[in-house]
Amino acid sequence: MKGYLKYFSNKTAWYLLTLVVAVILNFLLPRLTPGNPVATIASKAVAGMTDANAIQKVYEDYTRMFGLDKSMPEQFLLYISNLFKGDLGVSFSYFPREVSDLIGSAIGWTVALQLPAILVGWFLGNLLGAVAAYIKGPVDKVVFPVFLFISNVPAFGMAIIILFVFGIYLKWFPSSGGYGFDLIPALNMKFILSVIRHYQMPFWSIVLTTIGGQAIGMRSMSIYELNADYVKYSRFLGIKDKVIVKYVFRNAMLPQITGLVLSLGTMVGGALVAEMIFSYPGLGTRILNAVTGQDFPVISGCTLIITVGVLLANLILEILYGLIDPRIKTAQQE
């Protein structure tokens, strides 16, 4: 147990440090790039004004509102202290709604959509990959290229094709939104059914894209393991195939978990764009609207929340990995 504790605290400390870097980047990157967001917004506000003094005043007002008149370190301290208060600033487009409020209403949808979709896709993909590697022959010859192709259809492409075929051509599912536009969120049967119907297309489009990539990874891992010495030895011993497959699956699974940690960020990025296609009321659509409306506080709020989410998910995965992989336990005890 002591070994585990050390492993967990190490990992947690590392992720906390990464979080700090991410927060700094989130603060710095938009400010370091040459374009001045405040100038862009202020120029919109002064459009049509002729009085030079008034224009000057508007620019100053905006600069003060975003604290750009202070020095960089001062701005950063302010930013951090606001973060701890849960204050992410005020949205431009939905003035005077707070960014934290806007994100709060969207994040539930994103988590409820992406978490199950990525997990289901990951699981199905691994299963299919392992089966393809084990059966070989014609199944593999067909399955492999198909999955390679599917994994190369970008998430938004898959989303748009599913939307077009099932939402618009066949009209099986509603094509946009998270629930019927005539409903008010409430805990009644009608609303829940509507949510479930709206959930199908975004969910399956993310699952499908995830399956492709995972199946390919798992297939090559399994082929690698199936050729390993321990498998040959087990076969010589006459151990049943069923048992051997279990060994192989477990061993091939471990790198797949690490793979999930490494690719989670990419997957979430793709899934966010898929969300936008269905106008799902999650963070993806929020970002899209914020970009269109040049709503910088909302953009940086969303990016921060997504980073935190991905880091948290990765931390949990690494802790799980530590529990599953016996090598970690031994390494810590030495």
């Binding site: 370091l32 374009g35 077009f164 990025g269």
Partner: protein
């Protein structure tokens, strides 16, 4: 080198990928030579269907030919809507005393049901329980169909410039045809037009070209950074290794898409040229190349030939370049191929949320998707505005990945079947 190439081209997967990629490449190379018009020229209108468009006035002026073909069937099928066909079916089933239900269910095609209805329809049949409006609806429908059946064609007239009177120019009968080749003014949109009225095929070729350039540049930048840092970290080790590994690990878990959004939104609408976006994508996607190059370099660091070079007093750049790089080269090529694919994908994703290259001089695959989505192409049923784009991205990425898998099997014998 020659032997390796031979080996590589024996791999079925590599060859398939290579052929697809070469086909795309040749298309973007030669298509602009054949079709010289500006890809961004707005010729048509909002989401025109794929096909050839001929000038209507030209068709009147062009020499016509009599062709003995049944033109009524086609016309009827086109002008009697699905709802009207349903009305006919309802009448036959509910009010008609003579028709057998099998006959109605047998009539599958539009023309069959119209014919059946014309055969049995009678104004005088009592329609029980039907309102007057419904009855009149059937009378109107009958007149409409009769009109089409008895149509004699059209008389074309033109306004006389002096007197203002209408003069008959031509009489067009129903069985008159013109040869499409005779018509001087015609436009072909093999894949229809997009929301701006641009020819999708020409635009798509130009966009694929730009996207490939973006992918190449992004991949080059990412591979250059990843390779340099990876070699440095792996070979030099010590403090440098610790720092680089730390940074690399950090950037593999912070989603690169997020960093892209932050930089791209900071750059502002005016600041994002296509090539700048490519460089930014390259700067955010190096970590995994670096990771793997480092791991490979570490395994090479203590090989005998490297140690021998060290003992001979060779300089660090020389050892890295001559004793280590050739051994990781095959891996770097594979990583480069994947980086190109992911660069194209990143651009597309970035453009989808409106942070892609902002320019009205070139189109990229991502921008085409973005325009199609902004103008609600799926809702208008304009599949040609986005499905070819998705397929192009998938095809390029698929071919690159196939090549990568093929290479992997050649250089990584354990994966060979």
């Amino acid at each position: 080198m020659k032997y390796q190439l031979q080996l590589v081209f024996k791999s079925q997967k590599f060859v398939t990928g290579f052929v697809i990629f070469a086909a795309v490449f040749l298309l973007i190379l030669f298509y602009p030579l054949l079709v010289t018009k500006n890809p961004l020229e707005m010729t048509g209108g909002l989401f025109y269907k794929p096909g050839t468009y001929v000038s209507v006035t030209d068709a009147v002026d062009t020499q016509s030919y009599k062709i003995n073909k049944d033109v009524v069937t086609g016309k009827l099928t086109k002008s009697v809507t699905a709802e009207e066909q349903q009305l006919m079916r309802d009448w036959l089933l509910n009010y008609c005393p003579e028709v057998k239900p099998e006959e109605v269910s047998d009539a599958k095609k539009a023309y069959d049901i119209i014919e059946l209805w014309l055969q049995y329809y009678d104004k005088t049949v009592e329609m029980e329980g039907a309102t007057k409006a419904v009855k009149n609806q059937y009378v109107r429908l009958y007149d409409k169909v009769e009109n089409i059946l008895e149509s004699e064609g059209y008389i074309v007239s033109r306004k006389n410039a002096e007197t203002g009177e209408m003069e008959e120019v031509a009489a067009i009968e129903t069985k008159e045809f013109v040869n499409v080749k005779d018509i001087p003014n015609r436009v072909t949109f093999p894949l229809g037009t997009d929301n701006f009225g641009r020819d999708v095929l020409t635009e798509l070729v130009a966009a694929t070209r730009t996207s490939l350039k973006i992918g190449l540049l992004a991949g080059t930048v990412a591979t250059a950074i990843g390779l340099t840092l990876g070699l440095l970290a792996g070979y030099v080790g010590g403090m440098i290794d610790n720092v680089i590994t730390f940074i690399t690990n950090m950037f593999t878990v912070i989603p690169s898409f997020i960093i892209l959004i932050l930089i791209a939104s900071g750059l502002g609408q005016a600041g994002r040229g296509a090539m700048l976006v490519a460089v930014v994508i390259g700067f955010t996607s190096w970590p995994w190349t670096c990771r793997s190059v480092r791991a490979q370099t570490i395994s090479l660091r203590n090989r005998d030939h490297v140690n021998l070079s060290k003992l001979s007093g060779h300089s660090l750049p020389r050892i890295v370049l001559t004793d280590i790089l050739p051994y990781v080269a095959s891996y770097v090529v594979m990583a480069y191929i994947l980086q190109i694919a992911s660069g194209i994908l990143s651009e597309a994703q970035l453009s989808m949320i409106g942070l892609g290259p902002s320019t009205n001089k070139v189109a990229t695959l991502g921008l085409m998707m973005n325009w199609a989505m902004q103008f609600q192409a799926p809702l208008s049923g304009a599949w040609w505005a986005f499905i070819p784009v998705v397929l192009s991205i998938a095809m390029i990425s698929f071919s690159l990945n196939l090549m990568n898998t093929g290479l992997d099997q050649v250089f990584n014998p354990q994966l060979r079947e």
